[in-house]
Symmetry: C2
Subunit: 164 residues, 2 copies
């Protein structure tokens, strides 16, 4: 599998192979979001709410600013989502004690229940895919995805990966 000096073994870098990868990302991402989307439709929530819930669960007590930089949206956009989650009692917002300008975000019991439901569904699909593909494929999967990220996003990703 290693490439030779002549480069004959670089066939995995042909435009055709790259196109397959691009289309695989497109179709797979649809599957990736399908289950949570299905759960959320009917509730007043959407994918944006799912993302907020996921990362608050992941880093309890995170600030709004931090969440903004992870999600890469404007504060107005995030605020609309957070407001409904707080109003509905899924998220608790606590004024910072060291810096009272900051708001620290936590999932409530109710929030944790929805998070569970969403992530159970998403993990079930991921688990099935992992099991089908096997551990070596999973390692490759993660390597390629990580290499595909913008440097800033890779930083966020690794911070989460280790921090947790």
């Amino acid at each position: 599998m290693a490439e030779t000096a002549g480069g004959e073994a670089l066939l995995f870098l042909t435009d055709e192979q790259l196109r397959k990868g691009i289309e695989a990302m497109f179709f797979a991402y649809r599957g990736f979001t399908a289950d949570p989307d299905r759960i959320l439709e009917g509730m007043d929530y959407g994918r944006a709410h799912h993302r907020a819930i996921h990362f608050i669960h992941r880093s309890p007590g995170t600030t709004v600013s931090n969440l903004l930089s992870i999600l890469g949206v404007t504060k107005q956009s995030l605020n609309r989502v957070l407001r409904t989650l707080i109003e509905d009692g899924l998220v608790r917002s606590e004024k910072g004690r060291v810096d009272a300008r900051e708001r620290h975000l936590y999932l409530t019991e109710k929030g944790l229940i929805l998070e569970r439901e969403l992530s159970d569904a998403q993990r079930a699909r991921m688990r099935a895919a992992y099991r089908t593909a096997g551990p070596a494929a999973v390692a490759g999967f993660r390597q390629v995805l990580e290499a595909m990220m913008d440097p800033e996003m890779r930083r966020q990703y690794n911070r989460l990966k280790e921090g947790g």
Copy 2:
């Protein structure tokens, strides 16, 4: 890496590993779409136009119905996008000769130029990621993605993969 009867080597299926995969998908997809998004901003087009252009280029002469089932959106949604692309002379729509109800879609010269620009950018990122991760990782990447798709999407994906 192979699992034993006891299952001790199934560590790659832990919730923690699955969560990492989920977050990797999230951050990587952002990178995946970032370059085309950047190119399209400022033009009157968006990600939906990119997708239509990609699959028309991929299957010249495809019908509207076929495109609908690949993209998984409503005809009203697709039509809005196609209309602007046709008006702007990027896509040509031809009445079917065997079945005159169908419209066969093709990229014009102008359409091909934009397609090139978009796919060059997207492939460049994919190529860099592939090169960094190496051929074995790429194989695993594609395996996991394929396993993650809904069956119907996997059918579409494989039809494209072989048909081209």
